[in-house]
């Protein structure tokens, strides 16, 4: 089960594509206690619990995160092997104290950064309009020292996607080998831009191949996730979005959402399905997932339907206004990514043998942490 706790909606940046409204609300500790209880009560005993601290900028509320972590770890149902915590920060706040806390509590740590300065500063700015890249780069360098498995998450949109190749190179130059690339689904992508995707993703896959051949493999989500899916014969039920069943997000108010991307302004939000104090609203739980079109006909007949992320409810909503209706950009992006990954498997297995055997189960990102084992 995946849970996201939006500890605050405050943020010190004003990113142009942010889907969380910047406002002063911060989670009261009494609400956090209810959420932790909700999490342990709602999760079937055979399932692991993944809890992500989110914002706004979550590290603006570092003291609150420390308190919530203590509540989680002190809970009678807490088992260390079953619970995984994570923080994704905008990278503007970092300190030795934060690093120590993250390390001591075994928290997965990720920084959002869109790439080199000329890309990053197009969207990720302070309220005065100044880009945040200088401070973020400095903190990535330090965090990379503290956490060799540091994850970075880059968002690309129509103004920056042509630079994706340089984005990967930039992270690699900082020593980051765990790279997540995510398109901005709220952007208006044109047909012409979608048609450029195969060439751009192929450039990334060429880079991916070079990294392997040089003996320093990187995890690149766009490629690695599709390699794993191809070798496994498609996404399996637990891998698909389980919004509202296996996935919940909590706003600072305690309101419950299907996914953190849908919290928006919180108040009066159509995606809200209840509150952690008052409980679920059955009408909203059911009504929210009603489909008017029954999804895309094209997907039902598509050969690579099982390999496609057309199940991602929030991406679909941002593209089409419905959770189960895929937009043409996602379709184009998935086709391009799947083809690029297939090319990577063919090329590397031909040259290096069984390099992707560990993509069959578990996490393909292991490759990027212990590259020397692949020699």
């Amino acid at each position: 089960m995946k849970y996201t706790i939006c500890v605050t909606q405050r943020c010190n940046l004003r990113c142009k594509y942010c889907y969380i409204y910047n406002q002063s609300s911060t989670m009261p500790i009494s609400v956090a206690e209810k959420i932790v209880d909700f999490i342990f009560k709602r999760t079937p005993s055979e399932e692991n619990i993944y809890i992500g601290y989110f914002g706004g900028e979550p590290l603006l509320e570092f003291e609150l995160i420390k308190k919530i972590t203590k509540i989680i770890e002190d809970h009678p149902s807490f088992e260390r092997d079953r619970v995984e915590l994570s923080i994704v920060t905008n990278g503007t706040i970092y300190s030795e104290e934060i690093a120590r806390f993250v390390s001591e509590h075994g928290i997965v740590f990720g920084i959002s950064c869109d790439g080199p300065k000329f890309v990053h500063d197009q969207s990720r700015c302070f309220p005065n309009g100044r880009g945040s890249s200088d401070v973020v780069e400095m903190n990535i360098r330090q965090a990379r020292e503290d956490f060799p498995s540091l994850m970075v998450n880059a968002v690309y949109h129509p103004r920056t996607f042509r630079h994706l190749f340089e984005v990967v190179d930039y992270f690699s130059s900082l020593g980051v080998v765990n790279i997540y690339l995510n398109p901005d689904f709220t952007a208006r992508w044109t047909k012409r831009e979608a048609e450029e995707l195969p060439g751009i993703y192929d450039l990334i896959s060429d880079k991916y191949i070079d990294f392997y051949l040089e003996g320093k493999p990187h995890f690149i989500s766009l490629i690695d996730s599709k390699i794993a899916v191809i070798l496994r014969g498609g996404y399996k039920p637990l891998e698909r979005c389980r919004m509202g069943n296996g996935e919940f997000a909590f706003a600072p108010s305690g309101n419950i959402y299907l996914c953190e991307r849908l919290i928006g302004a919180d108040e009066g939000n159509m995606h809200c399905i209840g509150n952690v104090v008052s409980g679920f609203s059955i009408d909203r739980v059911c009504g929210n997932r009603k489909s008017t079109t029954g999804g895309n006909r094209e997907c039902k007949d598509c050969g690579i339907n099982d390999y496609c992320m057309n199940w991602c409810g929030c991406s679909n909503f941002f593209s089409s206004g419905e959770y189960d209706r895929v937009g043409p950009f996602l379709c184009a992006s998935e086709r391009a990514a799947i083809n690029s990954a297939y090319r990577v498997i063919q090329t590397l297995e031909e040259k290096m043998g069984a390099v992707f055997s560990d993509h069959l189960a578990g996490s393909p990102s292991v490759n990027s942490y212990y590259p020397k084992l692949l020699r």
Binding site: K2, N48, R80, E84, S86, V102, S103, G106, I107, V108, F109, G110, D146, S149, N178, Y180, T190, S221, L231, R232, G233, Y235, K236, L238, E239, C241, R242, T292, T293, N296, E298, D301, C302, G303, I304, Y307, C312, S320, V326, G327, P328, L330, C331, R335, Y342, I345, E349, G353, A354, S357, D358, A361, G362, S363, P364, S365, V366, Y370, K372, R375
Partner: protein, 136 residues
Amino acid sequence: MGGVIIDGRVLARTPRWVWWIGLPADFWLTEIPGIEKAIEKLKLKPVSKEHAASFATMSIPVEGESRPLALRKPHFPGGIRVAHLHFRDDLFLLNEEQWKEFSGQMLRDFQKKLGSVKSVNFEQFIEVSEAINSLA
């Protein structure tokens, strides 16, 4: 899970939610018939229980490294760093040829499916969206 220990330092856990959305699927449970077929076809023999258990502490000497590297990193999902299959309670190791045969089948299945790809059309999508909006 717990923190990963490298050079005596406890580091953050590896990100297990690798797909951003979704969890790693348990391939060994979802593909039981296919795995059984592969084990028969490749005539694989299970590794003895004692041998399999010792993987947790086993290491491989690597050129240029002062000490051998662990075959199975504790707490790292993805497990054993050589091609293998799990079936029921047994573990089967695959050599290069056997892996090629096994993954080759998955790739052949995939290749067939690539032949019938459909796409969501930009123009048609806009028309449908406008029709839905007019009903709202």
